[in-house]
């Protein structure tokens, strides 16, 4: 891994996903995998990590939560942002066992993606890759209210099965993403569980994966400085979110005899 200085990128398209989330498409492409991230710099404002929603062209889905993201939301088409990356370890798709998948069809195995908040962005990138390899993809999108549900149509357009869970029940199933995920785990056979979202959700997904004897890949978020494993700002008990992660691989734990 050889990190680099920020590269200038111009916004070529902006899509409003919800009142507080927008997707920015840049005139820059990167050789990157789903789950990897970039450090986005706005001179004079700040620099923050964002998971790639797509790498070719680079696409970021950004919620307005603080001064930096608010400044990014004020940018228009033609404005610039500086990006360094890709950084971090990606999600990994399971090896395909039954040879090449039929074009456009499925390879007979399913992946479960659980997304909370802006965690949908890297999982959309993953779903795109997974569908191209013929995986059957189920995605659970969790949000507080109907207005916070984003990218659902895009997942559907990829041919993924979409379940929506809102905490207030204003769209889809009422409850947490993990509740909806558990119902799917109960009825469908999956090969792997992927999740990105708030840490309590990741913890719950890890528990579910263990219970259903599935390996999981969880993507974490932390305040970062260097983004490449030197400064120690994002350490999670000695595990560096920026370099060892942001995706953490969780194997199936052996049952106690």
């Amino acid at each position: 891994m050889k990190p680099s200085l920020p590269q200038v990128a111009r916004i070529v398209q902006i899509v409003d996903e919800s009142p507080r989330v927008r997707t920015l498409v840049f005139d820059l492409s990167m050789a990157a995998d789903p789950g990897q991230f970039v450090m986005a710099w706005l001179p004079g404002v700040d620099e923050k990590p964002f998971s790639l929603m797509r790498a070719q062209p680079v696409t970021l889905t950004i919620a307005r939560v603080g001064p930096f993201s608010s400044a990014v939301h004020r940018l228009g088409v033609g404005d610039r942002l500086w990006l360094r990356g890709p950084l971090g370890q990606p999600f990994i798709l399971p090896p395909i066992e039954a040879g090449q998948p039929p074009a456009g069809g499925t390879n007979g195995e399913a992946l479960l993606l659980v997304a909370g908040g802006c965690g949908v962005a890297p999982l959309h990138f993953l779903a795109e890759r997974a569908r191209a390899q013929g995986w059957e993809v189920w995605v659970v999108i969790g949000a507080q209210t109907a207005a916070d549900v984003i990218l659902a149509n895009r997942f559907a357009a990829l041919g993924a099965q979409v379940r929506i869970a809102t905490e207030d029940g204003s769209r889809g199933e009422q409850g947490l993403a993990t509740d909806a995920a558990e119902r799917l785990l109960h009825s469908t056979r999956f090969r792997m569980v992927y999740a990105c979202g708030p840490e309590p959700m990741l913890e719950a997904v890890e528990g579910l994966a263990q219970r259903y004897r599935l390996p999981a890949q969880l993507s974490y978020e932390r305040y970062m400085r260097c983004g490449f494993g030197v400064c120690g700002s994002c350490s999670r008990d000695g595990w560096l979110v920026c370099r060892d992660g942001p995706v953490r691989q969780v194997e199936i734990q052996r049952e106690e005899r």
Binding site: L5, P6, R225, F228
Partner: protein, 311 residues
């Protein structure tokens, strides 16, 4: 087998090998320091702490450029109270591994240096490093203590008094001075137990499209391969000037670089930016390279190489 021969004594503290995790790299958390120790470091230095918590500078704060890193983190730290807890935990994790723990402190005044020193010693570190040379807080603190013989000596004397013989004190010097040997002589006269050299070299990287420095602090500290020969020269000059043990730091990323530092006069060798390409595992690689090179050069112990470049 070969690794056992790499042990050194630094200010009377035994290190299983001469490689020390330099301050500011991965020293933020006990478990992270333990991970670096397991990867092979002979000692680990915690991130510098101050009396009160500091947020540090806004991002961008750390960048990789063609020949190394540049940073202006601005001494972000949780404050000495939280640091003591972290250091205690680190000590417990490091002790079974035989890895030494070095606490690092900085302050804005001589009195505060003494206060932080007295507090941090409670955590029981094996050595105490005094950072009088951070180049990135100039706006706030003015010229670093390391830039002035009198100021460097005053801090040294105050910290030595606070340490009261309970822990050896290393003073970390800055290369951003005209005569580093003169500063070294001043801290030796003030009874420092050892010298760490060097801290980062002031520098700047400008983005052509943004037409401004990339670091929020504008200037920052250079580290990595770009500064290695500069650091070797500083260690060489300090070794000529004083009798104190030296921790040679600056762009060491191979066994060859480490031995070069030792031949210049270093007792132990700091490793920092080299972590960025390989992660903590860089320590294991450098140790293996050192052992191979020592065999090739006909050395059995590290101390046989110390200062041999002086003739």
């Amino acid at each position: 087998m070969t690794l056992a021969d790499l042990g050194v004594s630094l200010c009377g503290i035994h290190l299983p090998n001469p490689l020390i995790l330099a301050s500011g790299i991965l020293g933020t958390e006990a478990k992270l320091m333990a991970r670096v120790a397991r990867a092979g470091a002979g000692a680990v230095t915690a991130k510098s702490c101050s009396l009160l918590p500091r947020r540090g500078h806004p991002n961008p704060t750390v960048l990789a450029w063609e020949h190394g890193l540049i940073n202006a983190v601005g001494l972000a730290n949780p404050g000495v109270e939280a640091e003591v807890k972290e250091l205690r935990q680190a000590r417990a994790l490091l002790q079974p591994l035989g890895t030494a723990l070095i606490a690092s402190i900085f302050a804005d005044t001589v009195e505060h240096f003494a206060q932080v020193a007295a507090l941090v010693i409670e955590a029981g570190p094996d050595l105490l490093e005094v950072n009088i040379s951070c180049p990135n807080v100039h706006d706030e603190f003015g010229t670093p203590f390391a830039a002035d013989r009198g100021a460097a000596a005053e801090v040294t004397a105050a910290v030595k008094e606070a340490a009261a013989g309970r822990v050896p004190v290393l003073i970390k010097l800055s290369p951003n001075v005209s005569d580093i040997a003169a500063i070294a002589r001043a801290v030796e006269a003030a009874e420092a137990d050892g010298i760490s050299a060097i801290n980062t070299v002031t520098g700047m990287v400008i983005d052509l499209h943004a037409r401004r420095p990339i670091l929020a602090n504008r200037s920052g500290g250079l580290s990595g391969p770009a500064i290695h020969p500069l650091a070797v020269r500083c260690v060489y000059d300090i070794y000529e000037a004083v009798r104190l043990p030296i921790v040679g730091i600056g762009g060491v990323s191979s066994g060859r670089d480490a031995i070069e530092m030792i031949m210049a006069g270093a007792t132990a060798v700091g490793i920092g930016s080299a972590v960025y390409e390989e992660g903590p595992e860089v320590f294991g690689r450098i140790l293996r390279e050192m052992a191979d090179l020592m065999a090739e050069l006909g050395y059995e112990r590290v101390e046989q190489m110390r200062g041999v470049a002086h003739w």
